[in-house]
Symmetry: C2
Subunit: 208 residues, 2 copies
Amino acid sequence: MVSELIMTVTDRNTEEIILEAACTIFFQKGFAGARMQEIADSAGINKALLHYYYRSKDQLFEAVFNRALISFLPTIKIALEAEMPLTQKIAKFVENYVDVLIANPHIPAFVIHELNTDPNRVVLKLKSHGVDPRIILRQVDEAIAAGEIRAINGEHFLINLLSLCIFPFVARPVAQGILQKSNEEYTLFLQQRKSEILEFVMQSIKAS
Amino acid sequence: MVSELIMTVTDRNTEEIILEAACTIFFQKGFAGARMQEIADSAGINKALLHYYYRSKDQLFEAVFNRALISFLPTIKIALEAEMPLTQKIAKFVENYVDVLIANPHIPAFVIHELNTDPNRVVLKLKSHGVDPRIILRQVDEAIAAGEIRAINGEHFLINLLSLCIFPFVARPVAQGILQKSNEEYTLFLQQRKSEILEFVMQSIKAS
DNA sequence: GTCTATATTGTGATAGAC
DNA sequence: GTCTATCACAATATAGAC
């Protein structure tokens, strides 16, 4: 029984090591560009073990994709559903979300690319995780009615907010090239965006 | 000589048909996900002909990537370098750029993904096409100095502008899912963005 | 559980007839 | 220029020893 326990622990570790290596490779190269050999090398183990634990490339990818979503959805969910005034909620969302993006800079481009190439691969797991955008849309309308902010279109505003937060990460090579920044300079630039986005957004919605 | 002329014309047509089919497939699936067989099928010809005209998958991809850049850079260049006041230039840029995006909705995600996976593949052809972002950055600073707009960070402003224009195309599946829109509804939504972005941006920079 | 060796299929590329 | 047939290799997946 002791040996069973030890083996189980060992299993978990290897399984986790593989998954992390798979994340690194899949996030960077996507499903089609990733190679099982490369993942095995990155995990410091053998190709056959990948199949032992995850059966096929498809199933390994599925696990990676799930982890990618799980890294982000809770943050979004918490920020969107919190009980606070709209402007405060926006501030909290931008701050938390950009922090998560800095911690996981490759995930957005990965998810977006996989959804673009094969929209059927993951049949919108957003809903299954219970993120409901209507909450924030309703709150925007309420804030307009209460005169807290000027009249805007809630849907466009929501997409604007997401665009400002996510795009600089998704299009990092392009943006970095345009601004002619080094890696360090661009990382700093991303840090600054939390306050810059907030100022930009607040200015654009404040009641006149 | 007549036959030579005719053959030349025929060549050009086949070459062009292949390139267009290759664009369709590469834009959607990326370099790693695209299959030469699929491109041949899409072009209604044979796999061998692809190699006859473009030698290798790499070279065919190169041609596709070039076409993708050429579709966009002139519009950006013209808009950025035009001789007009900043606010007017911004308006023109948003309008023209979103129109080009609507006409070529898959290109941004394609370019971004390829630059993300292999930053070396195309060694920043932006510069080779002569797009210089410093023009607009300088103009922003001048407008601030002249009191036309409130004090903002030019670099963040430029990235904000690009984010608002491009992101809804790059992340279409995600955004469409969040807003729960049909294809027709989302296409309409993209059309509306021209005025929405402008209003949003102008409000955020206008002198107080 | 982990490895080596191998089977099997997929895919880019070429040869050669027409 | 265009096709069919085929090569050569890459990549996923499995078999079987330890």
